[in-house]
């Protein structure tokens, strides 16, 4: 499960939708096996567009839980980013380096084995063979 996916997953228990704590899920660094896949291709333009969809606070929170304290508290801005005309072609070298780091974190880093839990109801979800399992037992479904 790619790091970026942690930014999209909430608790699947319906009742938790009424709480503000059902996203992001909680990840315990010690219980997660992190792997990096360097073969995932770096596509600056694509990543710039996807970054628009990212909830940065949740990225920072989950990165910390998984042992990465280095992220800035606010989402990196790219000077040539305006509206939906995001273009990667005139990024500065520094910006490109930042984007490359984000690529490593968001798309190359993944959780191969581990678990995550809901901050509201504490239900535990497992990640097996890189695939998160969001199914629920009948009393929570």
């Amino acid at each position: 499960m790619k790091f970026l996916t942690t930014n999209f997953l909430k608790c699947s228990v319906g009742a938790c939708d009424n709480s503000n704590d059902n996203f992001p899920l909680r990840y315990e660094g010690s219980k997660c096996q992190i792997v990096q896949d360097e073969t995932v291709e770096f596509n600056p333009q694509f990543l710039l567009n996807i970054l628009d969809r990212v909830d940065w606070n949740a990225i920072v929170t989950v990165a910390r839980e998984l042992g990465n304290q280095s992220l800035p508290v606010t989402k990196p801005q790219f000077t040539h980013q305006n509206g939906d005309a995001n273009t990667a072609s005139n990024l500065t070298e520094d910006e490109l380096a930042v984007l490359q780091d984000l690529h490593v974190l968001l798309l190359q880093t993944s959780i191969a084995e581990g678990q995550m839990s809901c901050r509201n109801c504490n239900h535990i979800y497992h990640i097996k063979n890189g695939i998160p399992n969001l199914l629920l037992p009948p009393h929570l479904a």
């Binding site: 499960m1 790619k2 970026l4 996916t5 999209f8 997953l9 909430k10 608790c11 699947s12 228990v13 319906g14 939708d17 996203f23 896949d37 073969t39 995932v40 291709e41 770096f42 596509n43 333009q45 694509f46 990543l47 710039l48 567009n49 996807i50 969809r53 909830d55 995001n86 690529h103 798309l107 678990q115 239900h123 535990i124 497992h126 097996k128 063979n129 890189g130 695939i131 998160p132 399992n133 969001l134 199914l135 629920l136 037992p137 009948p138 009393h139 479904a141």
Partner: protein
């Protein structure tokens, strides 16, 4: 405006117009006069701003072959030459390209492929009056001039021997039809019985207007055929399936992830999640640009959702512990599932789409129908969704259709049939028809 000739594939006619229309709409091309479009003809003449616009329109299309700058047409070669000489812009066109390297190509429609007694060299020489001064290059020619011959076929399967009509144009853009080869299921590392063929999955993604750098979701991902199609057109794709075995694949060499690796599009594939669509875990404020899928119909796979069929059997089970740990929290716990109706599942899909898609965003999904004459097919409707296309693919005893909806928002007030029973059991009818 300039005149262009679009040469389409003469197949999947129920999908062809929807594809070119959707692509034109995606790129805000509004000058095309579709009243000239006919299912009987593989040709469409269109007015477009310039070559770039023509190219944008057609380069990701699957059900067309190519688009040409229009130079002329006529029944016989003589008529064709006359037409070319008469066009007011011919002189300018020649000036624009006369120094470029070039070659001639021939395309045929409904011709007999074994018919090779036409003298192509002589035909090329008949264009001498164009007086191109550039080098003739068989490879990497800058300009490709194309004669398209239309034949009158002898019968449905036997092509004609003599062309009855001719078009001439300069190639501007070939379509993306070659993608069918690349994504051919025969060459795909991980596939299964539910995998969807390359051609129509790519067409589906075009009609659904999958856009680069946006998010596409397939709630019933299975072996990931639509994820592959969405990734090809540049979206970040996410899939879910209630059956973990489907999305897991068969080891590292044959998984959805390895398919994307093989295609060189690994960054487009986000993840597949084991999840019941109706107990959805994608955060509610995540905008999903496109939803494209093939829902379960209870034929090869059953329609199930989380929950107990007989709740009384599960009473108190949540307290069961194994080795001091709640059983339902264990890594290997398998939750029970209960049957669900297709109507309800599709209602959920429509409702979900209105909540997650942007205004103007598209939901596209496949729905099979048995071809019994006396049963009407009722298409699910939601008051916020405009049903834009209903494209039928006919098989012998059954058919399936691609339903495409546009999210119009709360004020749309379209018709709805949510909560009504629309389908009798497709599974029963399907098998009855095959016996």
């Amino acid at each position: 405006m300039k005149k262009y000739l679009l040469f389409m594939v003469h197949a999947h006619l129920n999908f062809r117009k929807a594809e070119i229309e959707s692509l034109a709409d995606l790129f805000n091309i509004e000058s095309i006069d579709y009243s000239k479009y006919s299912d009987q003809s593989p040709f469409l003449i269109a007015d477009l701003k310039n070559d770039e616009e023509a190219s944008t329109w057609i380069k990701r299309s699957i059900l067309t072959k190519a688009i040409y700058e229009y130079w002329g047409e006529g029944e016989t070669m003589e008529d064709l030459h006359k037409s070319i000489k008469e066009q007011p812009y011919t002189e300018k066109y020649i000036k624009d390209y006369e120094l470029d390297s070039f070659k001639f190509e021939f395309e045929t429609y409904k011709g007999n492929s074994k018919n090779n007694n036409v003298d192509r060299v002589k035909q090329i020489e008949s264009f001498r009056y164009l007086d191109f001064k550039g080098k003739i290059r068989m490879k990497d020619a800058k300009q490709i001039y194309t004669v398209i011959e239309k034949y009158q076929p002898v019968s449905e399967n036997i092509g004609g021997d003599k062309p009855v009509y001719h078009y001439f144009g300069r190639l501007v853009q070939r379509s993306n039809r070659s993608a069918m080869e690349k994504y051919d299921l025969k060459k795909r590392p991980y596939k299964g019985t539910t995998s969807f063929e390359a051609e129509l999955s790519l067409v589906s993604a075009n009609i659904a207007q999958v856009k680069p750098g946006t998010i596409m979701y397939d709630p019933f991902a299975g072996t990931g055929s639509f994820l592959v199609a969405g990734g090809h057109f540049g979206a970040l794709v996410i899939g879910s399936d209630i059956d973990g075995r489907m999305i897991r694949g068969k080891g590292a060499q044959a998984s959805i992830n390895s398919n994307f690796k093989k295609y060189g599009e690994s960054e487009k594939f986000l993840d597949v999640i084991t999840m019941d669509f109706t107990h959805n875990a994608l955060r509610s404020d995540l905008m999903i640009d496109t939803i494209l899928c093939d829902p379960p119909y209870g034929i090869r796979e059953s329609i199930k959702v989380l929950g107990a069929k007989n709740p009384e059997k599960f009473e108190g089970k949540e307290d069961v512990e194994i080795d001091g740990e709640k059983a339902y929290l264990k890594r290997d716990y398998i939750p029970t599932k209960k049957p669900y109706s297709l109507d309800a599942l599709l209602d959920d899909l429509l409702q979900y789409s209105t909540e997650r898609l942007p205004i103007g965003g598209r939901l596209a999904f496949w729905m099979p129908t048995a071809n019994d004459e006396n049963i009407e097919t009722i298409v699910p409707m939601h008051s916020n969704l405009e049903l834009k296309y209903n494209c039928v693919q006919d098989f012998n005893k059954w058919s399936r259709r691609l339903l495409v909806y546009i999210n119009r928002g709360d004020g749309y007030n379209g018709s709805t049939n949510a909560g009504k029973q629309r389908t009798s059991n497709f599974r029963d009818r399907y098998f009855k028809n095959f016996n």
